[in-house]
């Protein structure tokens, strides 16, 4: 199914996604009502279930606040495509059930366009064009396939560390 694209630029930081004054909130729907406040106010009002965020380089840089992926998730978004992600945000996105997809050509995708994600086939499609996406690292795929880190942890009463 095709979904609407919300296009953002480079270095979208976690303060832009959810400002510091809202960090006592943990409910994703409530967080979503403040998402991108002051940066892109219409997002929290108009974003719909299944919409896709497309960013440039270094999406989600800055703080480790998991409120950022939660605020995006609370707005109904499940997939973020970007040229690159900041490290902590990338892990947080996977852990909270968002799918972060790295696409070198993300810059070519237009705001408001429709986008179709073909995760297994390794590409996304917008305005009649296909763009390849990087595969998700194997050890993180295991977490995604388990249904997120919480589900993974529940399924593994113990973990084997590298010392063993």
């Amino acid at each position: 199914m095709a979904m609407r694209v919300w296009k953002f630029g480079n270095d979208i930081d976690t303060d832009a996604i959810i400002p510091g004054r809202f960090l006592t909130i943990y409910d994703e729907k409530e967080l979503a009502s403040y998402a991108f406040e002051g940066t892109r106010d219409e997002f929290s009002k108009e974003a719909d279930d299944g919409d896709i965020i497309v960013g440039g380089r270094n999406f989600g840089c800055g703080s480790s606040r998991e409120h950022a992926p939660l605020a995006i998730r609370g707005a109904g978004v499940r997939v973020i495509v970007a040229e690159s992600f900041a490290r902590i945000f990338y892990r947080n996105a996977i852990n909270t059930g968002l799918l972060p997809l790295v696409c070198e050509d993300a810059g070519a995708i237009k705001d408001g366009a429709e986008l179709i994600v073909h995760t297994d086939e390794g590409y996304i499609e917008s305005a009649g064009k296909r763009y390849p996406i990087d595969p998700v690292p194997e050890f993180l795929l295991e977490i995604i396939q388990a249904g997120g880190l919480v589900a993974y942890a529940r399924a593994h009463p113990e973990v084997k560390t590298c010392t063993e």
């Binding site: 940066t39 800055g62 480790s64 998991e66 902590i88 947080n92 880190l149």
Partner: protein, 418 residues
Amino acid sequence: MARGLTVAEKIFSRRCHREKKAGDVVMAPIDAAMIHDITGPLAITQFWEMGGERVFDPEKIILLFDHQIPADSIPAAKNHVMMRAFAEEQGIVNYDLREGVCHQVALEKGRVAPGDIVVGSDSHTCMYGAVGAFATGIGSTDMGFALKFGALYFRVPESIRVGAEGRFASRVGPKDLILRLTGDIGADGATYCALEFGGSAFEEMDMPGRMTCCNMAIEMGGKAGIVPPDEVTRAYLKERRSFDPVELSPDSDAVYLDQRSYDVSDLSPQVAVPHNVDNVVSVEEVAGRKVDQVFIGSCTNGRFEDMQEAAEVLGNETFSDKVRVIIIPASRDEYLKTLRAGLIERFVEAGALVEAPCCGPCMGGAFGLLAPGEVSLSTSNRNFRGRQGSTEAEVYLSSPATAAASALYGEITDPRGV
């Protein structure tokens, strides 16, 4: 082909009891885990969601409140209550709101040793690399996992070597170096990498300066910032904890993703201008810019030595009455040192608000927020749009010396001319 190891590779190899190299994915044991009042409640919730009952080791958990203290809202107060109950139930030492900013407290209480692998649910956890640990910021769900299992997945990172030689000129220091480096490497130039610092400038640098530099590794996307432990490290830790003598110097044939070298003797005071930390210029380029608020403090620059640096520039003068000056030592210990040296009295006489140890205006949550159109100069680590209040405000970042000079004149001022 055999090759030498970086500091990061040595730390992971040591903890895994076998050689680990960049690119290896390991479930590594955690030597310490830090949670605070903003990200802690969600980490605890996720720990429970994962079926957690007892944390892996209460003695390895660092727990405190620093972002919203004393509670600035009822939700913040509730978060504190929730974390107090968790600490009590789990037998974790709770520093509560008494000790100060998490990263400063973790180091000064001797909770981190050279060669440790440490996680914190705060992005500036990379500061613990100042004592030769591999320390990195993680989200709350990863923290829930770490609290339960005492282990976490890591990809052993590639390293970027940053060598610095020479002596800093008067009123130029580690903050200027790390800002310059951030400007050169860029906000994502070290993503997934460890920044490994070395050279005579780092060898001669005191522990507070090393903390300032390691603290800002994340501003380049870095996973960690590390200064190999040496005599300075050992002297700092001696009165704080016992630790294994670990040899963590990088091998001469270690392989780096990139190597950079600096001569700090010709470095000028640096300023990060709105709205990105890598937007760095020499102070002359922005001198004269009016400022409404100056903040001297944070985990980046809230230590006694930073207070001394500001006080030395202040001398017997008075801060401009056009600027609000907020000074916050980063911990109770640093506050006491500043107090006993007579500097708190000097700052208050000069017109500053001196607050109790906490994160303060750095993250724009608790107090010291900016109105639209206002300008702040801050010794903290981030100047993102909206970071300290309104998205229409501007935040500049600098050293304590530049901040103090600017507070004297109400405009960005080169401290070398004061």
